[in-house]
């Protein structure tokens, strides 16, 4: 379910790197008793996954012994290992940023020669490419170092709550565990800070709905010192907090706020007018923390015995312990690092395009990462021997074919699952990461029969009922179309979309679970939201009136 749109050839590197790391973690590092890794197949550009369950009781028992030696050590030393993880991750980001710019000069610079470097520029192309790729694969190992253990601890508490309170909603359990000061809130907080700066500096009139980013920057420049001061503040916020992409980090074209400031700027006029209306934009952190404490206490009180309360305390303590990682890792992995990675590949695209391998830099994403290495070696060789490279003869046609294939594939809906239906889904990784259960499969199997109806079902992400016009948004460029009171219908909502949450009346997405960051942000804004519908963007037409029942996970098309 992470891959709703057909993947381009290069982007499939994510499936390879991620499942390689996930499998290592569950199969061989932590030795999860009941599952090996996730297998995947790619059909018509879509990635399908399947669990690799362990069913032999003797083998489960053998793996359980290993698991407890490894996973329990992680739980017991969580804070230390997580602090260490951040150091490793920041070092990895530092290394990625330190990779040299790509250069293929006509003659090797004289200073390299006089310094006796002895290695020519073409070699650094390959080295940089391999380091780029190596860093990406390594990043995914970091991504999964704690993830299954983190989700497992959360799901343990979740399962207990469902047992003790069979009718408790997923989102209520999520609210008991979710952090208040997680990294995911930070980009939006920076935006609020910038809105305040604009008002304090007296340049707030420069921010108007519908203006392009460039138009706003130009008019800020014209104000002289105050405008430049605001642009300075903008730079402070951008590193690192605007290194978040507008998708889930799996497509090269989901650019970051830093690459395209329009998402960030879209939120500013709204925040500024709220400030001027006397509203404080501070997140009421203490109030939110008090509410969370009260919620935990109120459910605790309802338990039937002190014995159950003691178990509840143990489980929620562990869930709170692991959750900063579960919430925080995405910023470093799927956002910050992934942006650096795709942008570095873009640099290779620009270089190859300059040498006639294809028309423009973005075409590079239609080569697989193996093909890209071959193209780079082709260019290195040609630079060294003075013959023309072979690539310009070969790649344009392949790129054109692959573009056509993606265009064709995206016209067709693919079934959400393929193959025989498993008797039971008991693979913790599948349940935890994708929220796929036997129930989900049943819904998918029945989806065809109710396709004619006007109801779309998904996960209840944030309660409340709202009706309004749908604004079906397929790309970031379209967000400027959103008007106050619209209901956002999109493929993936993401924390980076938070700035526009102040504008909309509700949100519906194709992908995501009740713990998805979109769901967390929606709850924070008290906005009805249904996520993980699978089909909302294809079934709802722009402008249609819809009703979102976020408490029950139902979207109704009213006209």
């Amino acid at each position: 379910m992470h891959f709703p749109e057909p993947m381009s050839a290069f982007d499939m590197v994510t499936a390879e790197a991620a499942y390689c790391a996930l499998g290592s973690s569950s199969t061989r590092v932590h030795c999860i008793p009941t599952t090996l890794g996730i297998d995947h197949r790619i059909i018509n550009g879509r990635v399908y996954i399947g669990g690799n369950a362990v069913t032999d009781p003797a083998e489960i028992a053998r793996r359980t012994v290993e698991f407890q030696k490894r996973a329990f050590y992680y739980y017991e030393n969580w804070e230390r290992l997580y602090a260490q993880w951040r150091e490793k991750m920041l070092a990895l980001i530092h290394d990625a940023r330190a990779l040299p710019e790509l250069a293929l000069p006509e003659f090797e610079p004289l200073e390299h020669v006089h310094a006796g470097r002895g290695v020519a520029s073409n070699h650094y192309l390959l080295e940089t490419y391999q380091k780029t790729l190596e860093g990406y694969f390594r990043m995914w190992h970091h991504h999964f170092e704690f993830l299954l253990l983190g989700y497992g601890a959360y799901l343990t508490f979740f399962g207990f709550c469902k047992g003790a309170f069979p009718q408790i909603s997923d989102q209520t359990v999520a609210r008991m565990v979710a952090g208040i000061e997680a990294e995911i809130f930070r980009p939006d907080e920076e935006l609020r800070r910038l809105a305040r700066c604009a008002v304090d500096l007296g340049v707030d009139a420069q921010f108007q709905e519908g203006l392009s980013v460039q138009a706003v920057i130009d008019s800020l420049q014209q104000t002289g010192e105050p405008g430049r001061a605001w642009l300075g503040e903008l730079e402070t916020s951008r590193e690192p907090w605007f290194n978040i992409n507008v998708g889930d980090g799996f497509y090269h074209y989901h650019r970051s706020w830093n690459d395209d400031l329009s998402m960030a700027f879209a939120g500013l006029p709204g925040y500024i007018s709220r400030l001027k209306a006397g509203e404080s934009l501070e997140r009421p952190v203490e109030k939110l923390q008090a509410e969370r404490r009260q919620l935990i206490e109120d459910y605790r009180e309802l338990l039937s015995s002190d014995e159950e309360r003691a178990a509840y305390d143990q489980m929620i303590t562990l869930a709170h312990r692991v959750f900063p990682y579960v919430e925080g890792h995405k910023f470093y992995c799927e956002h910050w690092y992934t942006n650096l990675f795709f942008n570095k590949i873009r640099e290779f695209g620009a270089l190859l395009a300059a040498h006639g391998f294809f028309a423009n830099q973005e075409d590079v994403f239609h080569l697989t990462h193996y093909e890209l290495e071959a193209a780079i070696i082709d260019l290195m060789t040609s630079w060294s021997n003075g013959s023309p490279p072979r690539g310009p003869e070969r790649w344009p046609e392949i790129v054109a074919q692959r573009k056509a294939a993606i265009a064709e594939w995206s016209k067709h809906d693919m079934p959400p699952a393929l193959g025989p239906v498993p008797d039971v889904i008991d693979d913790p990784a599948i349940v935890m990461l994708w929220g796929i259960t036997s129930e989900t499969l049943d819904t998918w199997l029945n989806a065809g029969s109710e396709a004619a109806g006007n109801e779309i079902r998904g996960f209840a992400a944030s309660s409340g009922v709202v009706e309004g016009p749908a604004c079906v948004v397929r790309s970031v460029e379209e967000i400027v179309r959103l008007r106050q009171g619209d209901i956002l219908v999109c493929q993936v909502t993401n924390p980076t979309w938070a700035p526009i949450f102040q504008k909309i009346a509700g949100a519906v997405s194709d992908i995501g679970g009740s713990m998805s960051h979109a769901a967390i942000v929606a709850r924070e804004y008290s906005l009805p939201a249904v996520v993980g519908t699978g089909t909302a963007t294809s079934r709802i037409k722009d402008g249609q009136r819809i009703r979102v029942d976020g408490g029950r996970g139902i979207v109704t098309i009213l006209q």
Partner: protein, 348 residues
């Protein structure tokens, strides 16, 4: 106020007074104590029954006669019951009882108000709901004389065939049997119903299940109408189930006393009888009552048609799920980490 006489107002009593005011009376007083609105009223205390029975026994013995009966000799019980009930309904009340009840009635119904007269037996107990159902209740009474007459009818119902058999079978001594009687104003309800402070289907203590329909609660309790049904998060207030049913009839009070079923206005048949705001008020009330009693409750409620707000008519401990408490979902573990094996260890 000195020693209580034959009559006590709800505001002066609580559950601890049950030996003197019965289960129903004690519970209504207790609800008031918890700050919950109930229809105003008073209790005719057991001592009034005692003094009445003393008068009756001057003519012929009652208690010894009942104690001599065998629960298996249905014929003898039936003959005795018939005689005793007639005797009780015909004997005049002691003056002190008549005066005090009449005075309280006059105060309660200073403007013309219909009342209910309900048995409030001292043996009535939540764990013994079957016995509670054996005594009589009279609704929508419009006069003092009718109230006094029904007071005796309630007392007489202690000597119904079922009640006698029940007591004989359990060997309760007759001397310990007494009955208080509740006199309470009726609520002319716009809508009414019941609620449980846990799910009747799953036993979930984190939700409140509310059922209600147009008019008086008797249509819901008597099963004459399929009520609207809601499930609300006790803590979150989230309304997760809204089943709005087709409510074709409703019970309304008759001016001559009693109740009749009439058709619901066509535009209201399919309409929800409670607004979300009213449901949240019910939720607050349910939490308050449950906290006060410290256990799950089964509550009757009504919304006053004449702007008196939401009133609770009755609250009893929930009995079905409380009785079948199962093993804890989980117990504290020596190593708290071992809980995660429920996720990672596979199905057992």
């Amino acid at each position: 106020m000195g020693s209580p006489g034959n009559v006590s107002w709800f505001s002066d009593i609580g559950l601890s007074d049950r030996p003197d005011v019965g289960g129903k009376g004690g519970s209504l007083g207790e609800l008031l104590r918890a700050g919950i609105a109930v229809p105003p009223g008073f209790v005719v205390r057991t001592q009034a029954f005692e003094s009445f029975l003393e008068v009756v026994e001057r003519t012929s013995p009652i208690r010894t006669r009942v104690e001599s009966l065998s629960p298996d000799d249905l014929e003898a019980v039936t003959v005795c019951s018939k005689a005793l009930r007639a005797q009780l309904e015909e004997t005049a009340l002691p003056h002190s009882v008549t005066d005090e009840v009449a005075a309280a009635y006059a105060q309660l119904c200073s403007s013309p108000t219909a009342v209910a007269v309900r048995s409030s037996a001292t043996t009535e107990d939540a764990s013994d709901a079957s016995f509670a159902g054996l005594q009589d209740t009279y609704l929508w009474l419009n006069s003092r004389d009718e109230t006094l007459r029904r007071l005796r009818s309630c007392w007489a119902s202690l000597y119904s065939v079922e009640s006698i058999c029940y007591r004989r079978r359990h060997g309760f001594p007759e001397a310990s049997v007494a009955m208080a009687v509740v006199v309470q104003t009726m609520v002319d309800a716009r809508c009414a119903g019941v609620m449980f402070t846990r799910s009747p289907t799953t036993g979930d203590r984190s939700v409140i299940t509310i059922e209600g329909a147009w008019g008086l609660g008797s249509a819901v309790v008597g099963g004459e109408v399929t009520p609207d049904r809601w499930v609300i998060g006790k803590i979150t207030g989230e309304i997760s189930v809204r089943d709005i049913s087709e409510k074709k009839i409703k019970h309304v009070p008759l001016s001559a006393g009693g109740v009749e079923a009439i058709p619901v206005e066509p535009e209201l048949v399919q309409a929800a009888c409670m607004s979300d705001a009213e449901l949240q008020t019910l939720r607050d009330l349910a939490r308050k009552v449950e906290r006060h009693y410290g256990r799950s409750q089964d509550i009757e409620w009504a919304v006053d048609r004449h702007g008196g707000g939401i009133l609770l008519l009755q609250s009893r401990p929930e009995t079905v799920w409380s009785k079948r408490e199962s093993a804890p979902v989980a117990r504290a573990a020596e190593n708290p980490l071992s809980h995660v094996m429920s996720i990672f260890g596979g199905r057992r």
